[in-house]
Amino acid sequence: MEINVLEKEPNRVRMYIKDIPLHILNSIRRTMIADVPTMAIDTVVFTVNSTIFYDEYIAHRLGLVPLTSEAALEKYKPPEECREASERGLFTEDCFVKLDLEGENPPGSNNIITLYSGDLRTTDPDVRPVYDKIPIAILSPGQKISLEAYARLGRGREHAKWSPVSVAAHKFIADIIIDYEKCKAPECTDCINVCPRNVLIIDNDKVKVSPDKLFDCSLCRVCEEACKYRAIKINWRKNEYILLVETTGALSPKRVLLEAVKVLESKLDNLMEALKMEGITK
C-alpha cells in the first residue's frame, strides 16, 4: 500500500492511496461520517429568555456549534451510555460537559448586543467552541438570556451535528490514453479547449496530460466526445484513489481517520465474537 499526502491544511487533507480495495476505503469513509464520536451540545435548559428567538431556535444553533473533542474522546463515556443518561435527565459528570450562556442588554441602552459562541462559559477547558465568532442571539435593550447547555459525545448517525467531517469523499484517478496515430495535433486542439479542468496541454506538438493536473481530471469524458478522430480514451485506474477529508474542527483530519479505523476494527471484532458464540467459527 502506498499513501501520499497531496494537500494538508489544519482542517483538510487530500491523500493519494494505492492498493486498497474500494469497499474497504468506502467503509472507512462512511465510518468517518457516521461513527466517529465528537462532542456537541445535546440538551439546553433555559431559565430566562426574553429575546425575539424561540428557545428551540437558540438550542438548535447551540447544537450545531462544533466543540473541541480531541481530549474528550478518552475523558467521557461512549455515546451509547450517555444517550440513555440524557433521556433519563441525569446529567452526570462522566458523560456531560456543562456550558453556560448569560447575556443582558440593560434597559435604556442604545446598542444591540450580539452573543457569540465564544461567550459560552465551559466547565471543562478541553471542551469549548472551536470558533468564537458564531452569532448565537441578538439582544435589543431590556432583553435578557440565561441558559445551561449540556454537551455529550455522540455519533453522526444519530444527528449530523456529531459528525466530525463536513466532507469525506473518494474519487477515481483517470487513465488518459491518447492514440497518437489518430490524433491530428497540433492542427486539432478540440480536446484541450473543451476540458473544464485544463488537464490536457500541447507539448512538442503532441497532446499530453499536464504532469501536475492528472489528479484534477473528473472523468467527465467531454474530451472523448469532442475528438472527431476518436483518438482519446478515458479510463480509471484500478485500486488507486484520492481520499478527501474536511473536518468541522472538532477533531483533526488525522484523528478522524485513526478513530474511524479503530471503530471499524471494533465492529469487526464484535462480529467475530458473535460468530464464535454461535459456534460458526472457533
Binding site: 425575539i52 450545531l64 456549534v65 444591540i112 465568532k133 452569532p135 435589543s140 463536513s166 468541522t248
Partner: protein, 66 residues
Amino acid sequence: MLFPVRCFTCGAPIGHLWEEFKKRVEAGEDPGKVLDDLGVKRYCCRRMFLSHVEIAYELLNFPKVS
C-alpha cells in the same frame, strides 16, 4: 433570521465568517473575492453568504408581547 451556523448542504461551519464577510462587502469589496479569501470554496457554502437576508434585526423593532 440570523446567519446559519453551518452550510445547509455540506455541514461545514460558516457562522464565524459572516461578520467579516458583511464588513468587507459593505466596505465595497467584491463578494466573490472575499469568499475566496475566507476559504469558502464550494458553491453550496457560497450561496449561504450571497443569499442571506438579516431579518432578525428588523424583528427587533417590534415590541414583544407576553
